[in-house]
């Protein structure tokens, strides 16, 4: 029997919450879907293993030479930047959600003890997600190359722990420097930028050096190889650990645990204080410029205006959108170089832009169509439900048009045909992603939408596959190939499938 209020007891409580959170994330809050979700997960895992096999299967027997160590380290840094971004998101959420904060601080349990476990829980969640995502790649490498690759699981867990430690330190540093009110927005933007920065940095380097969008191109360049330390350098310890060097794994695991423990020791004591300060921010007064007289607008117009206002005033959404826009920087740079040099790189650029448009529209559509803070008001208004939906779709497509129009206009100066294909691709990918979200719409408040927890997993995957399909269609159409029909048919098939399996209203 575990004694109440001990570290083990609290860890058990946090574990239970994490488990329920995860089940809710997977089943979109509907427990009866557990079987369907389990089948979908198995299928997804099989697909991921197939993809992993095509990507890393041939590298299972590589040796730890300098070139391999550079590539592995680069991939790890890339993944770690994403882990740090995810951890910052989790820490920000822990700070700004009131949740059980009052209960914890009012209880006779030491807050240090509770928040130590909570930081540990964040580290555990980040590590677990990272291990799950990395598992197809590690399993394939293990299957074809040997059990020594299993050490990679330990490295991924260590990366999660370090990411959580840094995320806590960064967020608390932000709160101390700029205050809890500003930290809410800035931390989310920092998380988005960190998540995107390394990938984008490598892509920009690749464009400037090799003219391609491959993020691995700079890592294989002669310059990097010349300046990189020799293969026996301590810098490559994490990469060596991934490849099965147990001594290196012990060092990596030890360092990560020390960093996590230090973060817990330093910050757990004040975590509650900062969390209280942060959660109180929601009651801060935000004054807007007074409305200069009511304007005469149709119901459709007021609905669109309302959606745009809410989207613009949502810091979380701004950070997410910023991330999407950041990913457009490398293609934009490529466009600029291509335009200057008259190169034919536009075909590589178009699918990236179309894919980004599909993903952004899906996110906006999800928030706009399913997230409604005043559903009763809208439902009792003398407006047909169809008109309300149309206005919301218009709001999403309008926002996407505003974001992508400059890029398409710039493209017309390079190639009118490419611009036309790109514009059409953006429109179709955006409309398809919006349609998918319409089919899987649910009714929830926007505050519940931070992690798309109530979103259907099927909708999310269908949206990604549809965007990939339309991106491939655009690329092939821009190159003048009739093969463009194949991905288009595939994308249409996905939409038809969505229509069939979508829950009836």
């Amino acid at each position: 029997m575990i004694q109440p209020a001990t570290l083990t007891w609290l860890a058990g409580h946090e574990l239970r919450l994490s488990w329920r959170d995860w089940v809710s994330l997977m089943t979109a809050g509907r427990r009866h879907r557990t079987r369907t979700v389990a089948i979908a997960l198995v299928l997804f895992a099989a697909l991921m293993h197939l993809i992993a096999w095509s990507m890393v299967g041939r590298y299972a027997d590589v040796t730890a030479d300098k070139s391999t160590l550079v590539i592995v380290t680069g991939s790890m840094l890339l993944s770690w930047s994403l882990l740090l971004s995810q951890a910052m998101e989790s820490v920000t959420r822990a700070f700004y959600t009131r949740s059980d904060l009052d209960l914890i601080l009012a209880s006779p349990v030491s807050p240090r003890k509770v928040f130590s476990i909570r930081i540990g829980r964040i580290a555990g969640s980040v590590a677990l997600i990272a291990m799950l995502l990395a598992s197809p790649f590690i399993n394939i490498l293990t299957f074809f190359g040997g059990a020594h690759w299993l050490a990679a699981y330990g490295v991924v867990a260590a990366m999660g722990a370090v990411a959580a430690a840094f995320a806590v330190a960064l967020t608390i540093a932000l709160i101390r420097t700029i205050g809890p009110k500003r930290t809410r927005l800035i931390a989310q933007i920092v998380a988005a930028v960190i998540g995107a920065a390394f990938v984008i940095g490598l892509q920009v380097a690749a464009i400037l050096s090799t003219g391609s969008l491959s993020r691995f191109a700079p890592l294989q360049s002669e310059t990097v190889m010349t300046h990189a330390p020799s293969a026996d350098s301590a810098l490559w310890l994490p990469a060596r650990a991934v490849m099965g060097d147990l001594a290196a794994l012990a060092v990596v695991a030890g360092v990560s645990l020390i960093l996590l423990a230090a973060s817990i020791l330093i910050f757990a004591g004040n975590f509650g204080e900062h969390a209280t300060a942060a959660s109180g921010v929601s009651s801060a007064v935000v004054r807007q410029r007074p409305v200069r007289g009511f304007r005469r607008r149709s119901p459709g117009s007021v609905l669109r205006h309302k959606e745009w206002t809410l989207l613009l005033r949502d810091p979380w959404l701004i950070s997410q959108t910023l991330m999407q826009i950041l990913y457009l920087l490398p293609p934009a740079l490529m466009l600029w170089i291509s335009f200057r040099e008259g190169g034919g790189a536009l075909i590589v650029l178009i699918p990236v832009v179309v894919m980004a448009a599909g993903q952004l529209s899906g996110g906006l559509a999800w928030l706009s169509i399913s997230g409604e803070d005043a559903p009763d008001l809208v439902a009792t208004a003398p407006v047909m439900a169809r008109r309300i939906t149309i206005a919301k779709v218009e709001a999403v497509l309008g926002a996407v048009a505003i974001i992508f129009a400059p890029l398409v206009i710039a493209l017309t100066f390079a190639s009118l045909f490419s611009a036309l294909i790109c514009g059409l691709g953006i429109l179709i990918a955006a409309a398809a992603a919006t349609y998918i979200q319409l089919c899987f719409r649910v009714q929830a408040r926007r505050s519940q939408f931070r992690r798309r927890q109530t979103s259907s997993r099927i909708a999310t995957f269908a949206e990604a596959l549809s965007s990939i399909g339309w991106a491939a269609t655009s690329a092939l159409a821009a190159s003048g190939s009739f093969l463009a029909l194949f991905p288009a048919v595939m994308a249409l098939g996905i939409l038809a499938g969505v229509r069939v399996i979508a829950p009836r209203a």
């Binding site: 007064v285 935000v286 007074p290 005469r296 119901p299 007021v302 609905l303 309302k306 003398p382």
Partner: protein
């Protein structure tokens, strides 16, 4: 001579079931210019009835006429003259009260100038003027409820349906809300309100309906209800408890 009284809300044979019947062949008539209070124990079917009337739920059977308009056949026309307010104020955190009211006015296609004048009056009456241009995200429950009430009234509805509008309000806010509602009834509007605060029903309602197990078990003025229980000098609370207690064995049978 009998005075002609227009019917603001006429419900006939209304049925709505979830796992079990929530509203069971309910008949209800509420007259124009009346303050009608619908009482009943938890799970009696009050909220379901009002949500069906407001167009938020589809009934399984029955008919609903709002000011003579068939609400099931022509929901848009019925909604044009109706307002709905629930106990949980549903407003947009990122909008200010004025922006919210402008949005509501747009949905109801109200003339911009009239809507602005009405919004200014309502925010003044409800004590929201100092906060009219602040985002609602920092508002207390009472302030949020007042913003929602202003939204319900800004389009000058003929029939105002309120589900527990005073829940969680402090005495000052509750008085402001009650005053605004009384004013609406004086101006000829019809207010239909559910409440668990029996004192409010006792003081404000022209007629009271008691609902249990989805059926109307008693209706009338407070005196008429007292007479039904055979206890003339008791409070509404005693009357209500007697009426509800009488239905329990019937329902159990």
């Amino acid at each position: 001579m009998t005075l002609y009284r227009p019917i603001a809300l006429g419900i006939r044979g209304l049925c709505k079931a979830y796992d079990r019947p929530a509203v069971d062949h309910l008949d209800l008539t509420i007259y124009g210019g009346e303050f009608y209070s619908l009482l009943g124990p938890n799970g009696a079917g009050k909220t379901t009835t009002l949500r069906v009337v407001a167009g938020l739920l589809k009934p399984d059977a029955g008919s609903i006429a709002i000011d003579g308009i068939d609400a099931l056949a022509d929901p848009v026309a019925a909604k044009q003259i109706t307002a709905w307010l629930s106990d949980e104020p549903m407003i947009y955190d990122k909008l200010t009260p004025f922006e919210y009211l402008e949005f509501v006015a747009g949905l109801w296609r109200i003339d911009a100038k009239d809507a602005e004048r009405s919004a200014t009056e309502l925010t003044e009456w409800l004590g929201l003027s100092p906060h009219a241009h602040e985002r609602c995200e920092g508002f207390s429950k009472g302030m949020r409820q007042k913003v929602a009430l202003a939204g319900a009234l800004v389009h000058d509805p003929k029939v105002i349906i309120l589900d527990e509008p005073l829940t969680g309000l402090d005495a000052g806010s509750a008085r402001q809300v009650k005053n605004v509602l009384k004013e609406r009834v004086r101006a000829g509007g019809t207010v239909i309100m559910t409440t668990h605060i029996l004192e409010v029903a006792e003081r404000m309602a022209d007629r009271i309906g008691v609902i249990a197990h989805g059926r109307l078990i008693a209706e009338g003025t407070l005196d008429e209800l007292r007479r039904q229980t055979g206890q003339t000098a008791t409070s509404l609370e005693d009357t209500f408890l007697t009426l509800v207690a009488e239905t329990v064995p019937v329902a159990a049978e």
